[in-house]
Amino acid sequence: MRRARIAHEGRAQWAEVVEDGLVLALPGGVRIAAKDAKWLAPVTPGASVFALGLNYADHSAELGFKTIETPLVFLKGPNAFTGHDSVSPRPADANQMHPECELVAVIGRPARRVSRADALGYVAGYTIANDYAIREYLENYYRPNLRVKNRDATTPLGPWIVDAADVGDPQALALSTKVNGVEVQHGSTKDMVFDVAGLVEYLSDFMTLMPGDMILTGTPHGVHFVSHGDEVVCEIEKVGRLVNHIQAEP
């Protein structure tokens, strides 16, 4: 099953994606065409949203870092998210703003001190994030700092959450980013330094993960700077295709 969060009749609602993604079925029997949907990021309000830095060795090398030995985890606030087919603002001085296609694991039940072997049993589903970074704003304090990674509407997320059972092995998925139709990122989740099971084990070792919490698992190599008007499409095999548009900040 695929579940989308949309704005419909004045409120946020969860809908089931049916008929090859063409139709959204709302509770109570209402059906709307997917092309008319106002997509929201499928994030449970209050959820803890973790993101990974340098979690693909090829991306680390590209940025001049050695392969990490412990997960480089940072956090995101609710202001950062926006839905499928939305707009992300690009500040006038952000010449180094680049997309990052990431597999997102969604936690399904409370997880505390979960073993690696059991970890995937705590993952309810998967979605896609495009976790934009703006490199001009990097500083070496709690890096990547929030000025780089927690700007309003710079983390498109969605379009929907796919049940884990429909995805199967989360470490065997091709992922890519296209800007105006040209591929700028291509990789496979098999190349993660810390895989989904390892990340659930790591985080749940010191805190309780709750249903709805999300882990953005990092991005492969391919740093491409975007401009006003660009259409950016992040695609992950068996999960979906997340579209976003870059708009110059007024």
Binding site: V73, Y142, R151, M207, T208
Partner: protein, 208 residues
């Protein structure tokens, strides 16, 4: 109510910046911080009503501060516009595993369950008084928010230049460089004249 995120302003104590002046000029920092540095306390950290802090650590940093709750969104605001966006304030005990590294986000140190006990929310006072920490009834720390590099109005304004502080978000104003440590078995009380007192016990967590 606190419906959004809990952000904290890091490196906001003048004493910390002066004691780390040399270190922050060197690797891995290479330059002193320019924009406000923030950290996030995840939802699992937040407790109210005097819930105990359970931990398997030998000691925790117990940093008393003040949190402000936004009642309106604050985006690209001037310092003069900040106070009108704040709906309430509370005392907060920002608990963490002691660490003197600021290079990478310190999620493991800062985001454990129950590591942000909060006092009751009350109206924003005209000025903040000294924040006093007692352990087992004895005063161990006292500090004034006059030490902040960026006081409330400046911090919120500069943060709002790059992200919206949303209605429902909590902003912790800063941590004292010399915040005390507390050990399991001890009780920590935070007070500041005019604000509801916060008391929490540090309790050993059952072993694995």
């Amino acid at each position: 109510m606190i419906a959004g995120a809990a952000y904290g302003v890091a490196l906001n104590d003048r004493n910390l910046l002066s004691s780390h002046q040399q270190a922050f000029a060197e690797a891995p920092y290479k330059a002193p911080p320019k924009a406000p540095v923030l950290y996030i306390k995840t939802r699992n950290c937040l407790t109210t009503g005097g819930a105990p802090v359970l931990t398997d650590l030998k000691a925790v940093q117990a940093a008393a501060t003040i949190g402000v709750l936004f009642a309106r969104d604050l985006t690209r605001a001037s310092p003069g516009e900040v106070r009108a966006a704040i709906g309430a304030v509370c005392l907060a005990l920002d608990v963490s595993e002691p660490s003197d590294s600021y290079y990478r986000p310190a999620i493991r140190q800062q985001c454990r369950d129950g590591f942000l006990p909060l006092g009751a929310l009350t109206a924003l006072p005209s000025t903040f008084e000294d924040i006093v920490t007692q352990i087992d009834g004895k005063e161990v720390h006292r500090w004034s928010l006059d030490r902040l590099v960026r006081p409330l109005e400046t911090a919120a304004s500069e943060i709002s230049a790059f992200m919206t502080l949303q209605a429902g978000d909590l902003l912790l104003l800063g941590l004292a460089a010399d915040a005390p440590t507390a050990q399991p078995g001890q009780t920590v009380t935070v007070s500041s004249r005019g604000l509801p007192v916060l008391t929490t016990a540090i309790v050993p967590e059952a072993g694995r």
